[in-house]
């Protein structure tokens, strides 16, 4: 493992914590360093504690750890909230001129910088966070020029003067520390020549959607899915698309459904409470055989729960939600880059099988920014498969003796032809009522069975034709098998290293496909100990795996609203294996 540095800025919501943290993350990325960010935030706009944390290394980082090296504290609470993570080598930057008297244990180095005064000197108190960034640069021997580019990106639109003032503010912070402190904490931030892009999971989903040819998006704002809509707004238009802010999620999914019926690749994104509303229309999407991608960026529930906290509690809802029996796909990306690729896949599944696809991400993916080499998102690799679409020339093959289009033709693979409105002779009816091949309502018992079987057959076809594989890490021959889904992958991959150091061998399967999903029977039978890791209280994924394999597994569940951390997860796994060994 490469040397990593853990940096954070914290204060009250409304203090500009996010944007300041983002500037530092961008500066690090511009310096060719990998970055992984996370946010502790409260849902109120003012008054709540909030922090932006950065883990950085010259190698890829994909998890947070329980350690903080440099902390910019704008409030005492920021220090208090992070005491557990601060250690002997930690430095805390604070403003001693402010009304609060910073209290921190003796073993931590305090760096008192008059942030506000220096900011005023540079042109305005509003820049005090930037002064702190300059101070942080000095402590970590990080070249201040790296900040400049990030400042230009952030403030460029506000004019040259503002950019210059900010650069000056950063330098005043840097100089103050250089002149007044001779610190023996030494963190050197090495630079590399690599170019990285820095993005979060919501942005990756949005970018994946555009790349996949999505041209219509409708949504209703909700944390932590709003970034998808904000990303698409303006950008999708450049590609001939459009975003509609709907009056509620009932409308959002129906708007998206309408666009999909018209023949556009179409998507909506929300979080649990919105999925509750969208479930009303979910069965219609499936029964009318409309291709639609529905994104659920999970947060802590039920009800309003903990809206800004992590949880993977919606698995059962996306798998089973809705009355009646609804064929569907459920795909859950396991990392930020996979948010992009799984979105592309989701659109292909939706159109090839004319079925709704749930793309299930979680808050930890959505609000985390991570660096990647740009070629991770190689647009030439994006393939678009629209499935069985007929046009004016090919529509004839699918007309019955009376010239009527068989939109729900009972085919061998279950997939029927699709005619976009406007196609000559393709006019047809679609409905949530049971229907015959032509889309006409029926209660005929034979037709009912035929159509139900046909729709389910699409899933069987997909099961055979597509690759529903897991991602594998660790030692393939290890007797300890860990399985997880969603964002836990990053922490778990790193936990494998910690465990290896302690002599614990682990094979890790990260599963991005929930339905259809890979058959894990052989893997589980080959292992001595099996542990399923997930961010929920009851073990929803563990339940379905036990059901698939008819064998009990151990479970590690976390539901305090915070994602797994790599070091913590390593401890949990070691503990679980010990307990299991004792029981045997």
């Amino acid at each position: 493992m490469a040397e990593d540095l853990n940096w954070a800025i914290g204060g009250e919501a409304g203090d500009g914590i996010d944007s300041t943290g983002k500037i530092f993350a961008q500066a690090l990325s511009r310096a060719g360093r990998h970055v992984f960010t996370s946010k502790d935030f409260a849902s109120r706009i003012r008054g709540g504690y909030t922090a932006y944390k950065i883990r950085t290394s010259t190698e890829q980082v994909q998890s947070v750890v329980d350690r903080l090296d440099i902390l910019v504290a704008l409030t005492q609470r920021t220090i208090d909230e992070n005491l557990d993570e601060l250690h002997d080598e930690s430095a805390v930057i604070y403003d001693g001129e402010r009304s609060w008297e910073a209290e921190y244990p003796d073993h931590i180095t305090g760096v008192d910088v008059p942030l506000k005064s220096l900011a005023e000197e540079a042109g305005g108190a509003i820049m005090r966070n930037i002064v702190a960034l300059g101070a942080a640069c000095e402590i970590t021997n990080f070249s201040i020029e790296n900040l400049d580019e990030a400042l230009e990106k952030r403030f460029g639109a506000k004019g040259e003067k503002i950019v210059e003032n900010n650069k000056k503010a950063a330098r005043l912070g840097q100089e103050y520390v250089a002149e007044n402190y001779d610190l023996d904490v030494d963190y050197d931030i090495d630079e590399t020549d690599n170019d990285y892009v820095l993005l979060n999971g919501d942005e990756a989903i949005g970018m994946g959607a555009i790349a996949a040819g999505c041209r219509f998006y409708a949504g209703y704002p909700i944390t932590p899915a709003t970034d998808v809509m904000e990303y698409l707004t303006g950008r999708i238009d450049e590609f001939g698309g459009h975003v509609v802010q709907a009056e509620d999620e009932l409308s959002a999914i129906n708007l998206a459904l309408g666009a999909a019926r018209a023949g556009a690749r179409s998507m909506t994104a929300t979080s649990g409470p919105g999925i509750d509303l969208m479930t009303e229309t979910f069965g219609l999407v499936a029964t009318s055989e409309t291709p639609l991608v529905i994104v659920d960026v999970m947060r802590s529930g039920p009800s309003t729960g903990m809206p800004t906290k992590q949880e993977q509690g919606d698995l059962n809802m996306t798998l089973y939600g809705g009355h009646g029996e609804i064929p569907r796909f459920v795909v859950a990306p396991t990392s930020i880059d996979e948010c992009f690729w799984k979105t592309v896949e989701a659109f292909n599944y939706a159109e090839k099988y004319q079925t709704p696809v749930y793309l299930v991400a979680d808050l930890a993916l959505a609000v985390t920014e991570q660096t990647f080499p740009p070629e991770t998102f190689d647009m030439d690799e994006v393939e678009i498969d629209r499935g069985k679409v007929v046009d004016d020339d090919t529509v004839d093959e699918w007309l019955d003796e009376e010239g009527r289009f068989r939109a729900h033709a009972n085919t061998e693979d279950g997939v029927s032809p699709r005619a976009f409105p406007g196609t000559a002779d393709g006019a047809h009816m679609s409905t949530g009522l049971e229907h015959d091949e032509l889309g006409r309502r029926t209660e005929d018992t034979n037709v009912r069975i035929e159509q139900v079987d046909k729709r389910n057959r699409k899933v069987d076809t997909a099961r055979e034709q597509e690759n529903w594989d897991y991602r594998e890490f660790g030692n393939p021959d290890a007797e300890n098998l860990v399985i997880s889904w969603g964002s836990n992958e990053g922490a778990m991959v790193e936990a494998i290293d910690y465990l290896e150091e302690r002599g614990v061998d682990v094979r890790f399967l990260s599963v991005p496909y929930i339905f259809p999903r890979p058959d894990l029977t052989a893997d589980i039978e080959a292992a001595e100990n099996v542990i399923v890791v997930e961010c929920n209280a009851t073990g929803q994924f563990a339940d379905i795996i036990e059901h698939d394999v008819l064998q009990r597994v151990e479970r590690i569940n976390k539901y305090n609203g915070v994602r797994f951390k790599a070091d913590e997860l390593a401890d949990d796994i070691e503990e679980t294996l010990k307990t299991e060994a004792k029981a045997q």
Binding site: S29, Y196, V197, L198, L199, E203, M207, I210, A211, A212, G213, R215, F216, A218, D237, F239, G240, H242, V244, A246, E247, L250, S251, N254, L255, A256, L257, G258, A259, A260, R261, A262, G263, A264, S266, E280, T281, L284, S288, P374, F377, M379, V382, I384, R386, E402, F420, P421, G422, T423, A424, G426, A427, H428, M429, S430, T431, G432, G439, R440
Partner: protein
């Protein structure tokens, strides 16, 4: 197909199962005539139907169509039209569908002013579920769920539309075949959201709002010297309360449909078979 389209081309081969005499027959016929008269054909027309007796209209007409879930027809129609502006989109449903479960969508669809036609088949009753009060039922109208009548004022759909910023508000009557087709035609031709509340009597469950009642009480604006472009006049008539009108009450001559205000003019269905040119710029933005 082109100019030789007849209104019967919009008829499907399914025989309607509406009760004999139901107002929905006339409402549907007028819609089909108006579509044919305005140069549309089934292959460029998309009908979105709600749930109710009225919602069956999607099955009895021939065109591209979606019969969705109760109350959500307007968002569907909006999505269709935005994705492919070349389509003629007509949304139809009942008074319960539009003014009760779908009331939230009505307000916002009106505000958006997407260029589509919305026909509400208003029978002042829940027909399909066999005779409960609807949001337009009279205050003293006794039904199985309101034995003393709803004892709440009925919704005034025209006023609701006006308050939401409607650019076209009309009312029509299913049994006045000529006028009805004419009014729907005007709604289709309107540049924006063409809203028509159509009295379509339910002969089975509503013995108050009957053909005779409407025939006797409706005032045809054509004979009332009404200027539909005069907002104040429209407002007065809509809020009046003691008279019911037939015809176009209000049309904003300055109406600019959503497509133009939002620059949504492309057919979104046409995409390349890989990421579009320029997609790599999206990645570079994250440097």
């Amino acid at each position: 197909m082109s100019s030789d389209v007849r209104f019967t081309d919009f008829k499907s081969d399914k025989q309607p199962t509406w009760c004999p005499g139901c107002g929905d027959f006339g409402t549907m016929n007028g819609m089909m005539k108006a579509l044919a008269n305005t140069g549309n054909d089934p292959d460029n027309t998309f009908v979105v139907a709600g749930i109710g007796c009225s919602g069956k209209i999607g099955t009895y007409m021939h065109s591209y169509a979606l019969h969705g879930v109760h109350g959500r027809a307007l968002p569907v129609g909006t999505g269709v039209k935005l994705a492919n502006p070349d389509l003629e989109v007509m949304v139809a449903g009942g008074d319960g569908d539009g003014y009760s479960i779908g009331a939230g969508h009505f307000v916002h669809a009106v505000r958006r002013n997407v260029d589509l036609t919305y026909v509400v088949m208003d029978n002042r009753i829940y027909g399909l579920t066999k005779g409960q009060a609807s949001p337009t039922s009279r205050e003293d109208f006794e039904t199985s769920t309101t034995p003393e009548g709803p004892q709440q004022p009925p919704v005034n759909p025209l006023a609701l539309a006006l308050a939401s910023g409607a650019t076209f508000i009309a009312q029509s009557f299913s049994s006045d075949a000529l006028r009805h087709a004419e009014i729907i035609e005007q709604a289709i031709e309107h540049d924006g959201f063409g809203f028509v509340n159509v009295f379509s009597p339910c002969v089975t469950f509503n013995d108050v709002d009957t053909y005779d009642y409407f025939r006797d009480s409706l005032v045809d604006l054509k004979e009332a010297d009404h200027d539909p472009h005069d907002y104040d006049d429209a407002k007065e008539k809509i809020l009046e309360g003691d008279k019911e009108y037939m015809g176009v009450l209000w049309q904003d001559e300055e109406s600019v449909p959503y497509h133009q205000t939002h620059g949504v003019t492309e057919d979104m269905t046409d995409i390349p078979d890989g990421a579009a040119d320029g997609s790599m710029d999206l990645v570079r933005e994250f440097y």
